[in-house]
Symmetry: C2
Subunit: 460 residues, 2 copies
């Protein structure tokens, strides 16, 4: 307990039975609970720096934790390691209405930020759905969500960071500006690095004007191929959809059932539709919105939609909320894994055909939905046998890579998808990423086992 006492000299520490189960897992399906040896709850970046300096000196693994809502296991600690929980670094430091930025500590949740920005007519547009998620976690996984088709993902909306290296150095990267060409972009490198390069202790976020009026069209299509074929035209129309989601018929049935939501779609339309496209538009002017949503409806029926329903505000909100809960709905229904492969969006039909063939070959059940405008497919897998499930996952990821895609669009690699990442990704890129990791974290203490296998001791 010598090490614990040294930690306690720096900041608040929990050990042994003081450590609740929540510090040992995230929301991954089938993720194991690993209780860490220590939980620290720092209040300042200086405390984080001291913790990391000590951990690096002693070779003790460190895992950062925000709200623990991740689903790839990147917040699952090592049994001999430290969890740095940011629950006490949860202040919104500034809402700057002149520069249109927010400065937040990593423990701030999306909900808290949204409430504060709403007060001044601004919005942080990244919307991964789970509003209890922390901004620190969002930065670590490069969180995405439904509004990415218009506003991009976390990467496109974070302007700067304060980050602590495993060397104990506290860096400030970027700032309250959208552009710079002054050395390497460390902000972008740290975003999405899943806690393996640095611990983020502050983020400067770009805010947008909050647009008041939204309207939603729901368009049933014969199948997902027909949906995918419609997407480029919708994106190219200049209507600039805020949301452009596809939902397959089974997922639609499940999420509307769970949410007890009646969409008023006639039985014969529902029975002949295997996939839905949800298009949400926004406009600062209500009349323009009304005109645009009509245009969108006409466009969609012209593109082969069986029909196009303009959803009333309440139903639209509830449908989007239900869609946000698709992961939880799948989990509750007994899904054995989820993937969020990203593809060139025009490759969606080909990927779905490949996925169907893979599923049939391995007697696996797949249902899904996804960010159609981004080519980001979310599939829930039902296959109890771990070995078969791994085969299905490997074949799905290989198909995505063959079509020019990537393993994860927004969930991250973490522990959960690591073996596929290491197996399928170009070894030269993996080797380069490991060299970059070493440039940041020579002692290899930041989230070892995430993205890469932990290095054998003394290997570098």
């Amino acid at each position: 307990m010598e090490f614990g006492r040294r930690l306690a000299g720096i900041t608040d520490v929990l050990t042994g039975d003081e450590i609740g189960d929540d510090y040992g897992h995230d929301e991954s399906i089938g993720g194991l609970l690993t209780r860490p040896a220590y939980v620290v709850r720092p209040r300042t970046s200086a405390e984080v720096a001291e913790v990391l300096t000590l951990a690096a000196a002693e070779g003790v693994p460190v895992t950062a934790r925000g709200s623990g809502t991740g689903i790839s296991g990147a917040a699952v600690p090592r049994a001999d390691g430290i969890v740095v929980s940011f629950e006490r670094m949860n202040a919104i430091l500034e809402i700057d209405t002149e520069n249109h930025v927010a400065v937040v500590q990593p423990g701030v949740t999306l909900r808290e930020l949204d409430e504060r920005t709403a007060e001044v007519g601004l919005v942080y547009p990244v919307y991964p759905g789970e509003l209890s998620g922390s901004l620190g976690g969002n930065v670590a996984t490069n969180a995405g969500g439904m509004r990415a088709v218009k506003h991009g993902v976390t990467r496109h909306n974070v302007l700067g960071l304060e980050a602590v290296l495993a060397t104990g150095e506290v860096l400030r990267t970027g700032g309250k500006y959208v552009k710079a060409s002054t050395g390497y972009d460390l902000t972008q490198l740290i975003i999405g690095s899943e806690g393996t390069l640095a611990l983020v202790t502050e983020a400067t976020l770009k805010l947008q004007p909050r647009i008041r009026h939204t309207a939603t069209v729901l368009a049933p299509f014969r199948d997902v191929t027909a949906v995918a074929a419609a997407v480029p035209t919708v994106v190219g129309s200049g209507l600039a959809p805020l949301i452009l989601e596809y939902i397959d018929a089974l997922t639609m049935a499940a999420i509307t059932h769970t949410a007890d939501l009646q969409l008023g779609i006639p039985d014969e339309v529902r029975d002949s539709s295997q996939a839905y496209l949800v298009v949400m538009l926004e406009n600062r002017d209500e009349d323009r919105l009304t005109a645009d949503i009509e245009t969108a409806g006409e466009l969609l029926t012209g593109l082969g939609a069986v029909d196009a329903y303009v959803l009333p505000g309440g139903s639209a909100r509830r449908l989007i909320q239900a869609r946000e809960q698709a992961f939880n709905t799948g989990k509750a229904a007994g899904a054995d894994d989820v993937i969020d492969t990203v593809l060139p969006r025009a490759a969606l039909p080909e990927f779905m055909a490949a996925a169907t063939a893979i599923a049939q070959a391995h007697e696996t059940f797949l249902v899904g939905c996804g960010h159609a405008g981004d080519g980001n497919v979310h599939l829930a897998l039902f296959q109890k046998d771990a070995e078969r499930r791994a085969t299905v996952l490997r074949e799905l990821f290989a198909a995505a890579l063959r079509l020019g895609g990537a393993i994860s669009g927004e969930h991250g690699v973490g522990h959960a998808k690591k073996k596929y990442f290491l197996e399928l990704e170009d070894p030269a890129k993996i080797a380069l990423m490991r060299r970059i990791k070493h440039a940041f974290d020579p002692a290899g203490v930041l989230n070892p086992g995430v993205l890469f296998d932990a290095e054998p001791e003394g290997s570098e």
Copy 2:
């Protein structure tokens, strides 16, 4: 000449008098001409890889060259080095109208790309002004320009790269998708690295729907403080300007004189205005555009503009073209240096006040314009004495950093601003960047002397 013969076994090589002066400089003011020992003009990434492998083995410096329109000296080679000119890798490989991306080789110019995308109703929205610039050069400097306030800079519009490392490995990063959370973002790391990490041999670019209708308001203001105060409201209005530029009175006089452009502003207005704001809007619907430009005019006069003039299409186009040429106008007028410092946009008045004081203290003349929406200030310095000029630059950059800004918004550090970068930037960040550089380029052959001082031999 043994080395030259080995290069010639790989690809087309120029040596000695075959090497024209153009390979030895870019457009930097006062940049020296350095003729390289070798110019290679590869046709494939495989040839680039062989050249880099040989260069790394022999420790010969390598500098990439696109169109040579840079203004920070990053394309200026070493006398003992190789210039890799991408003039023969200049094909537009694909315009993909389903995924809305273009795939280009580095030697393609912005003008060529714009002509091709126009044919299919799409646009690559990054617009650094100099249309003869190459996409490879744009990627290397993270080029920006006037449309960044709406569409971001190069970084936000490049989805993937093919890049050759100094190890001879050819990597593909990213792809035809806007989001991924699958390991470190190598695309973003290479963008803006000024040829020091890898040579880019292909880029996948995000295209947007080309919006037909634009309109422009020109608003004279009493001074730049009044301009800056108006900017947040314009950005927050939801009008989503495509361009939001300020131009000081002297720069306006110079560029309109050079372009022989009459804007029809009454003398008494011109005489009482020290700064102008140019707001360009776009809309796919002409009626909406007309309504929006009226709203913008009212907004601007409400925000203190002396008046607001809706410019006819031809004048607007010529004013924007004249503004694009501001750098060349300054250069022709005898400017001794230019800077493109970026700041939080609300800090613009404070920076301008500091700049005025610095200029007066050192008897230096400053004129400028800038991307007001982005806080990106472009100043031309007139000061013949090199030492005084260096003092002025150092003080200007220090003021920008004190206000939360960065040395360069879009021009890059190159050779031209390196000494200030190394002097003023956090040493811990410089050291980390050097470690990253080493992870990519262990032999230190990629553009040594750019960003960092070249390392003494055998230092690593």
